[in-house]
Symmetry: C2
Subunit: 340 residues, 2 copies
């Protein structure tokens, strides 16, 4: 892998997310830094006006990803998906949500059709999307469906330079977590995570670490029994199947620098158990990468940030990291297909 393989990559598709969020701004700022950050060719998919509203740089509309490479040095290539209303940064609208939905659909289709090398998705408002007929808990589940993959076989991983985490349950209420955390789920996600680390990160013998659900991983049953009744037994099974997986660990102790050095990915019982440490440590360079898809898909690990949209303060670090990780993962994936 390297320059030769990289040279053959098609351009990467960046769906801008909600036009009133910070997606357009961080995408444009990433383009500004394309040379110093050594970014591969990418193009935006979304409303051109949403970029113009927050950025004064050059934009060139394209109608086919094939046009992106010739444009990329001098302008941000954009495949226009109109927002039928007026885009006002920081003020989400239903028209904007429809535009985000459509941009995601278009960008996913282009990657599925192999017209683009990988998919990067900007942040959306789930509340707004739910009001315009979006039936999925998040963009990840939508993409899985479009790729013909069951939700049960995909894994959302958040990755930063010093930590990778996988939330085993995601967008469900806190109170529903204990019942959702089944042996079947843990087993499927652990294997899918190990496969993803091999396939997209080239880690041949992935070391996984499983968090406990209760304080101090239940402290031998004093503070809850899920570790004894569910987690520990399934970890035994996974080990017998050849997986290198430790735990259940006390969740509060496993994200220290020394603990993090001992595993390649932490499996977490619920959304915040995974997202709190990754965002505390890697707020400006955390990436959401979906494992288990036939395509590579990443996303900057931040929200729409409507409160700062349009003010020029949005940090492009996570978008830049998402573009780089998508490129690296796609190169890794292709090299393994070619050598197998």
């Amino acid at each position: 892998v390297g320059a030769a393989t990289l040279g053959q990559l098609k351009p990467l598709a960046v769906a801008l997310g909600d036009p009133a969020g910070i997606g357009p701004e961080v995408t444009a700022k990433a383009w500004d830094l394309r040379a110093t950050e050594h970014l591969p060719c990418f193009f935006a998919v979304g409303d051109v006006g949403s970029i113009e509203a927050v950025w004064a740089g050059p934009i060139k509309r394209i109608s086919d990803p094939l046009e992106a490479a010739a444009v990329f040095d001098s302008a941000l290539p954009c495949m226009h998906v109109p927002d039928d209303g007026e885009t006002v940064p920081g003020l989400p609208t239903l028209d904007g949500a429809r535009c985000a939905f459509q941009s995601l659909e278009v960008a996913t289709g282009l990657v599925r059709a192999e017209s683009a090398a990988a998919l990067i998705t900007g942040p959306v408002s789930k509340t707004q999307l739910a009001q315009v007929g979006f039936q999925h808990p998040g963009q990840t589940e939508f993409i899985a469906e479009r790729c013909g993959v069951s939700r049960g076989n995909i894994v959302m991983m958040l990755a930063g330079p010093t930590l990778r985490v996988v939330p085993l349950t995601i967008h469900i209420p806190f109170a529903e977590v204990p019942a959702a955390l089944t042996a079947t789920l843990i087993k499927a996600r652990a294997h899918a995570t190990a496969r993803g680390l091999r396939r997209l990160f080239g880690i041949e013998q992935p070391r996984l670490a499983m968090a406990g659900l209760n304080p101090h991983a239940g402290e031998e049953g004093l503070l809850g029994r899920e570790e004894i009744d569910v987690i520990a037994p399934v970890l035994e099974v996974l080990r017998s199947e050849g997986l290198d997986i430790s735990g259940p660990h006390s969740a509060d102790a496993m994200f220290s620098p020394r603990a993090r050095a001992k595993y390649d990915a932490a499996l977490c019982c619920y959304h915040d158990q995974a997202l709190i440490p990754i965002k505390a440590l890697h707020f400006d360079d955390g990436v959401n990468i979906t494992l288990g898809l036939p395509i590579v898909r990443t996303s900057p690990d931040h929200g729409t940030a409507f409160d700062i949209a349009g003010q020029g303060h949005a940090h492009p670090g996570a978008m830049i990291a998402a573009i780089k990780m998508a490129r690296d993962a796609e190169i890794c994936r292709r090299s393994r297909i070619e050598t197998v």
Copy 2:
């Protein structure tokens, strides 16, 4: 406050915690660094043998805290509380748990009697303590009882250089958190936290930030209703009572560097929501400080670490930070009593 007040402080009492844990080692290592770290005079309370098992430095037995000051420059003063069994680092025993229990009792009594300026407690094993008749969920609740303060009026705060967190529920199973998180609890803890920040940290107008329970703070009810039904209404009441409290915030977003700069303490719904970020960010210098007691009590924010006890690897940073914070809080507390 400063050198004059500091000079008048009685010595600080450090209960060593479980003799087979890393408490004795980090206490002795803190004494090693007393000059470079500018530590105030302190003395150990626990089994002398548990220190000797892991440290070759000078120890001087004392029978009264009054003797500590004359000893401190040349030896670690220790008020001996015998472990009736043999202390083997890394191998907890019931005799060791009894020793930890007794050491806590003695040290707490000395601070209550104003023979010592403040209490620092080393790590214990709750599992072991529960087997020797210790009836409390943790050391904090025991100390509250000995101080004649109801558990409902004390607050456990974890504090590091860039973050302070308060878990509103602590040592209970995950599944019991939603029912335990009542308006009454949030209200009492918020006021107690604000009082504690004024009294022990000298922050006259504390800014509090309350976390949501569900992913994305429930995302307007889509992912759980506790924010709408319980948290948001009580925050409104607290604001009307003059408290500066924001939220409910998306828990995963509130521990980024920029978010942390906007509050003095984060109120968290449960143990790991608070302890994951503080330990991810401040594993080697996080301090547990109890608000609402008539005395100052701190503790290094780590466990017994039986797996590394006796190997010489234990990091004394958190114990040093706990000793310093106890000193500073006691000076702050006294100065306010004197000036009121």
